[in-house]
């Protein structure tokens, strides 16, 4: 390196001037070596040689100093200490070719640049070979191994949670396909799998909660709500959950308040219900703020822990009673008071315009009223099918519409298709079949269908009355007595239409083809 520095400083040419002297010393040295007169002679000669060499060196240094001071260069002088001369330099009297600076290897700065394969390479043969196999640092290798180990650990973790992920993915897919029953079943499965795997999948719970909310299972939201920390509800990714919980709580509080006003008249004859008074009270609810304690009570009935705190926090925000839910109770009041269908439709359409997404609340009754008033049910049925592909309400509405239009066979066929497909509304489909058979005059089949409906579910009052009518038409007195006793045992009576039919005051056609087109 020092050689190069001196070469770079322009001293290099002086080397040539010293070279002959060096050769002369070498020849004297050779003659001494050939002399065999004894060690003393050799020693003396060497001493002399050293002295001469030192004198020459001192002279060269002095001249170089002089040159440095006076600025007059003397190219014949080499300024170089003995220590600076490499051991292998100029041995055997061979002079190495001096490599110009711009031809030195860029890396080692010692050897000639260029290789056999790449003559233009800025590196010498050795450096080129080295750089083509540039070594890895051991620390780098350790770090890469750590990262690869982390990847393997990730694979292990992922494989352990695959079942939970797949269950959640299936549930999400069903939810996207508007198959709420399958979705909720799979969410429940996902919840079980996650709990067994020790995974607290809050996002899965939030999606399950939103699915429940979307399909009107507002009482069941707490099942998933308590899995999410209260303070997290204020974070952006749980914004929808917070809104859904607040909305569900408002609906529940409204349902509680409206129920107190309406449900007390469920068994009261229509004429005795103070319709206008109750209706006004319900209307007033729409602009009334929900008392905080009522909201909290509605929210936290089945809730524990931090969610309750969140619910309480929500409750501190002023909220009015839920207007669409109030409208639903107004519809129900109109139904109890046997108000005309247009009045009932009016309340349900209020819900439809205020909260169209709550089709689970107004869809079925509004569709039935549309069918009974011979309106076009197709748009509503389409929306119902889009909202819930597992719901047979659209089929039922079509069957009702066909029955009212007089297409009994079409209605029977339609119902049978869904019964064969094991619909979850089998009992109502059987009931519609029964009504169609009765209208066709086939009392035996009408009774059979009504009885099938009766056997397939815990019967409603309407179904009991249908069976009573069909049994009366088919002469099945035992069945009629059984239904009558069942109703009376529950605090109800056989409907007026049935008793009038049995008394001969009305016909089946007059019951099912006029007025409400159905039994109460």
């Amino acid at each position: 390196m020092d050689d190069r520095k001196e070469q770079e400083n322009g001293v290099q040419p002086e080397n040539d001037g010293v070279q002959p002297e060096n050769d002369g010393v070498q020849s004297e040295n050779d003659s001494l070596q050939s002399d065999e007169n004894g060690e003393q002679t050799l020693h003396d000669e060497l001493e002399t040689l050293a002295k001469v060499f030192q004198e020459e060196l001192d002279r060269a240094k002095a001249e170089a100093k002089d040159v440095a001071e006076n600025g007059v260069p003397d190219p014949e002088i080499l300024i170089q200490d003995l220590e600076e001369i490499p051991d292998d330099a100029h041995t055997d009297g061979v002079t190495e070719e001096v490599i110009p600076q711009d031809e030195l290897c860029e890396r080692c700065k010692e050897r000639q640049r260029g290789t056999k394969q790449h003559p233009d390479s800025p590196y010498c043969e050795e450096c080129d070979e080295h750089l083509r196999r540039y070594p890895f640092e051991w620390l780098h290798i350790v770090l890469v191994l750590l990262i690869l180990g982390f990847v393997c650990y990730g694979g292990y973790v992922f494989s352990g949670h695959t079942d939970a992920f797949v269950a959640a993915a299936k549930a999400d897919r069903y939810a996207r396909q508007n198959l709420p029953e399958s979705a909720l079943e799979n969410y429940l499965n996902a919840e079980n799998v996650m709990q067994s795997a020790g995974v607290n999948g809050e996002m899965v719970y939030s999606r399950a909660l939103l699915t429940l909310y979307r399909y009107g299972y507002i009482n069941a939201l707490d099942e998933y709500a308590h899995q999410i920390r209260g303070w997290e509800l204020n974070l952006p990714h749980f914004r929808k959950v917070k809104q859904a919980l607040a909305s569900a709580n408002a609906m529940m509080a409204t349902a509680n308040a409206a129920s107190e006003l309406v449900l007390t008249y469920e068994t009261t004859p229509a004429a005795d219900i103070p319709y206008d008074e109750v209706l006004a009270k319900l209307e007033a609810l729409k602009t009334t703020q929900i008392p905080a304690e009522e909201l909290t009570e509605a929210q936290s009935e089945e809730t524990t822990g931090e969610t309750t705190k969140a619910a309480t926090a929500n409750a501190q925000n002023p909220m009015t009673y839920d207007a669409p839910m109030v409208a639903f109770y107004q519809y129900y009041l109109a139904l109890l008071c046997e108000k005309d269908m247009e009045t009932q439709i009016g309340f349900l359409e209020q819900i439809q315009s205020a909260a169209p997404e709550r089709i689970w609340l107004y869809g079925a009754p509004l569709g039935e009223l549309y069918a009974k008033t011979k309106r076009d049910i197709e748009p509503l049925c389409t929306r119902l099918a889009e909202a819930n592909a597992q719901d047979d309400t659209p089929v039922l509405l079509h069957a009702i519409a066909k029955r009212i239009e007089g297409d009994y066979d079409g209605a029977i066929t339609l119902c049978q298709e869904r019964i064969d497909a094991q619909s979850n509304m089998t009992y109502e489909l059987y009931r519609q079949q029964s009504l169609c058979y009765l209208l066709k005059g086939d009392s035996a089949k009408g009774y059979e269908a009504a009885n099938n409906a009766y056997q397939s579910t815990s019967p409603s009052i309407q179904l009991c009355n249908t069976l009573a009518l069909a049994a009366s038409a088919a002469g099945e007195n035992e069945a009629y007595d059984e239904v009558k006793s069942l109703l009376e045992g529950s605090g109800y009576t056989v409907s007026k239409e049935v008793t009038e039919y049995r008394d001969g005051a009305r016909t089946i056609e007059s019951i099912l083809s006029e007025g409400d087109y159905d039994l109460t």
Partner: protein, 188 residues
Amino acid sequence: MKTIYLIVKYFTVVGTFLQAFFEHFTCRFYEVLIEDARYLRADELCGHVEHELIRKRSTAFGVSFFPFLFNLIVGLALTSVGAVHVYYLGEFFTSGGVPHFVNFLFLWVGISVLTNLFPQIEDVLQLKDLIYGKGKSNWAVKIFAAPIFGILYAGAYLQACGATLLTSIAFSFALPYILAAILPHLVG
């Protein structure tokens, strides 16, 4: 632009390091002369190794493609784990109520690796010249290489301005939903 590039590079230091390592590894495999193998330099070569100009097409392709492939595999693996647990399942906390740092670590490392997939612009330009230069390749090679080259070419420019951080974050959001569409069919 260089500042943003370096900020992104150092924010995604794991991916930066891994990309440089794989580039180094590939260069050694192809015996490409490496001039500087400092992985985390404070210049535009951060996350790359400085190597000679490659004049052979297959070598140029390999040096651009294989580090991309290796990082893609590692990045997908880690991002899948992180994104599924954080974004999809929502496992933010352990059962003990402590934040689940490992899941977030998976996500960060995965995103950082996906952010550093692409070669240097100089390398893709050289590759472009070797593949699409006049008389350099036949049509079959040009067509066959087009999709991969397109990805590498666009990615190199995105990476040079630090935009791959955004694309990898966006991809990490989408990844669980891609897996959710595929995995249930595979697992049954």
